[in-house]
């Protein structure tokens, strides 16, 4: 019943909007939470044999849809459910107006539908439709509070997303002309058959180039990252949790991994991906060093961390790709955790300007402690989960022969640690900033996602030797090398 991943959230949205408004307002949060917990549990219980899960799926007969959901899809479903789950709690905590919160909850569910659709598609045009669903719901989530900054951030995102759409669509048109189909399997069979003449393969390369640049824009990779810091920092924090946690990863990075493997058939190290990845790591890390705004710093940090995923993909060997996928999951947990922490700070202290904050660790012990965990994990300090994924990525990149990239990645990890330590010092440690004497720990609505995400970050790191065999080795089958 894999179709449930898109059918259930959609059904919940429809039901909520058909029921009386007062009931729906109260129910939307709980429906969403139950749904995300169910999605997560279902993913964990899903049999890890591709094809088996949907053999008897009646929904597929209705939708006429051949679905392929392997282990990579499982990782994505889990990350999506986890981040949307956290975003529901943060929305409940931060959005005061109950009508607006109702719309926020609905948009979260629709965005979840779109992301699950991206994961499930095995046709380029279907992928495009769901990419647009995710993009459109993100525009609205950014502009939700209709502040000037929010509208500006949303507008920038709309413009760059339109450019990405033009590139992706042109590429699809070219591929359709050359291949006569947009089905992943058919396109891959033609592209990797080796029977294309020189002129055609030039067009193929051009088409793939357009597609990849479109996805770079969607994923906020340097040098196409202009929209990302504005969008993340100007969005309401509840929306930033979703955007920073999963949206760019589902729309840009996951799609790139999926296409590289299932459509373009890349099996050699790619200098372009390695270069873009390294550039993203460097630019993101150095830009994060100079930020005053907590959320903006997290946005630049996201660019930098996504760079690690891209170099893992660019190295194109099992170790690196498994590391990249693991980092994708890890990053969605600890970056979500950091955004949730920023939500707590914003609500309790009234600002996210790091120069006006300080010494909050005593006042907000849980938020302070979980943010230390998350930042150490981001910087790749053992034994937290981020350490393992970065280790695998760097090992894989080294094995692929790109030694300079591997060394740069390690060195830039130190910069990550530097900007996060500076963040900790300015927000949580040191002397209490004037005017913050009355600050209290955030309420239960935020403590739940904080604790859940922190437990995953710590737990996954400690149990990695076990996970390595049960969770990561099966992933290897994705990448038939």
């Amino acid at each position: 019943m894999i179709t449930l991943y898109i059918a259930l959230p959609l059904a919940v949205v429809l039901l909520l909007n058909l029921s009386p408004r007062r009931t729906a307002n109260a129910l939307s949060l709980w429906c969403g939470l139950v749904l995300t917990v169910f999605a997560g549990a279902y993913t964990l219980a899903m049999p890890h044999v591709p094809g088996l899960a949907d053999a008897f799926d009646p929904a597929n007969r209705v939708l006429q849809w051949k679905i392929e959901a392997g282990n990579l899809a499982g990782v994505m479903f889990l990350s999506i459910a986890l981040v949307v789950f956290s975003a529901f709690w943060v929305g409940r905590y931060l959005i005061a107006d109950s009508n607006r919160r109702f719309i926020f909850n609905n948009l979260l569910l629709l965005c979840m539908t779109g992301m699950n659709g991206i994961v499930l598609s095995n046709d380029l045009f279907t992928l495009y439709v769901f990419l647009e669903v995710v993009a459109a719901s993100s525009f609205i989530l950014i502009a939700l509070e209709r502040t000037n900054a929010g509208l500006e951030g949303a507008f920038k995102y709309v413009l760059l997303s339109a450019v990405a759409t033009v590139l992706v669509l042109s590429s699809m048109a070219l591929i359709f002309v050359l291949v006569g189909s947009l089905d992943y399997g058919t396109v891959k069979a033609v592209l990797t058959s080796g029977q294309l003449d020189a002129a055609t393969s030039r067009f193929v390369t051009f088409a793939i180039g357009l597609f990849v640049v479109g996805l770079f824009i969607k994923g906020g990779m340097v040098p196409f990252h202009g929209w990302l810091p504005d969008a993340y920092s100007s969005a309401p924090t509840a929306s930033s949790v979703l955007l920073g946690g999963i949206v760019t990863k589902a729309a840009g990075v996951f799609t790139l991994i999926q296409l590289a493997q299932n459509v373009f058939g890349w099996d050699k190290p790619s200098p372009v991906l390695l270069a873009v990845g390294t550039l993203s790591i460097a630019v993101g890390a150095f830009a994060a060093l100079g930020q005053r705004n907590f959320k903006r710093m997290l946005a630049y940090s996201s660019i930098s961390q996504i760079g690690y995923i891209i170099i893992g993909l660019g190295a194109a060997n099992e170790v690196a790709v498994v590391g990249a996928i693991l980092h994708l999951f890890n990053h969605s947990t600890f970056k979500t955790l950091l955004f949730v922490n920023s939500a707590a700070v914003e609500k309790q202290a009234g600002t996210v300007d790091m120069d006006k904050l300080g010494g909050l660790a005593n006042k907000m012990p849980v938020t302070g402690f979980t943010s230390v965990l998350a930042m150490l994990s981001t910087a790749g300090v053992p034994p937290l989960s981020g350490f393992w994924s970065k280790l695998l990525i760097v090992l894989g990149v080294w094995l692929s022969g790109a030694h300079a990239v591997a060394v740069t990645a390690i060195l830039l990890s130190v910069v990550t640690l530097a900007y996060f330590l500076s963040m900790q010092r300015r927000v949580f440690f040191g002397r209490l900033a004037p005017g913050l004497e009355g600050v209290k720990e955030a309420g239960g609505w935020l403590l739940v996602p904080e604790i859940v995400l922190a437990v995953i970050t710590l737990g996954l790191g400690l149990t990695m030797p076990w996970f390595f065999n049960t969770f990561l080795v099966p992933l290897r089958s994705l990448w038939s090398l």
Binding site: Q64, N106, R146, V177
Partner: protein
């Protein structure tokens, strides 16, 4: 009699010109009309290239429906106060300077493509696609239709978020 290539070239030039007009116009209404005109030229070009159904969609949705939506939106908002003629002329000159590289770039790209004629090796035609439009839409592309439905839902929420309070204020506080 003009050849198909020449007609298409003329249509494309007209399309670019009306698109530029849409960007340059200082009046929202004219800009909308220019945009509709762009779609009309594109629809004719698509029709000439042998895709009548795509042309119908382009004409009815992009030239028709969207123009109606834009014009009704424009009629609901007040035009800006500053509409002195010399101001408008200055604004237009400023925009002209800003956008002048665009047509030049397009023209150069067009000439280059014209000189290096692109012969794509394979063009799908009726033999490869024996399906009718309705079969493609309702059978092959059923999931995408479902995706479109989600997209429309997102749009509805977007309108509620972005415009609902404007309407409330416009009606003097009542919902």
């Amino acid at each position: 009699m003009l050849s198909l290539g020449t007609i298409l070239l003329i249509l494309l030039v007209l399309m670019v010109l009306s698109a530029l007009w849409a960007v340059m116009a200082t009046d929202l209404l004219r800009s909308t009309i220019a945009l509709a005109l762009t779609s009309v030229f594109l629809a004719i070009a698509i029709y000439m290239m042998g895709a009548p159904l795509a042309a119908v969609f382009e004409l009815s949705v992009c030239a028709g429906l969207i123009t109606v939506v834009f014009i009704s939106a424009i009629s609901m908002i007040k035009p800006e106060g500053n509409t002195r003629k010399e101001d408008l002329a200055r604004k237009r000159r400023k925009r002209l300077k800003k956008y002048i590289p665009l047509p030049i770039l397009l023209a150069v790209a067009g000439v280059l493509l014209w000189l290096n004629r692109v012969d794509l090796p394979f063009t799908p035609d009726a033999d490869v696609f024996p399906l009718t439009l309705s079969e493609i839409m309702w059978d092959v592309r059923r999931v995408d239709i479902a995706g479109q439905a989600v997209m429309i839902l997102v749009g509805v929420f977007g309108i509620v978020v972005l415009f609902k309070e404007f309407v409330r204020r416009g009606k003097g506080g009542e919902e």
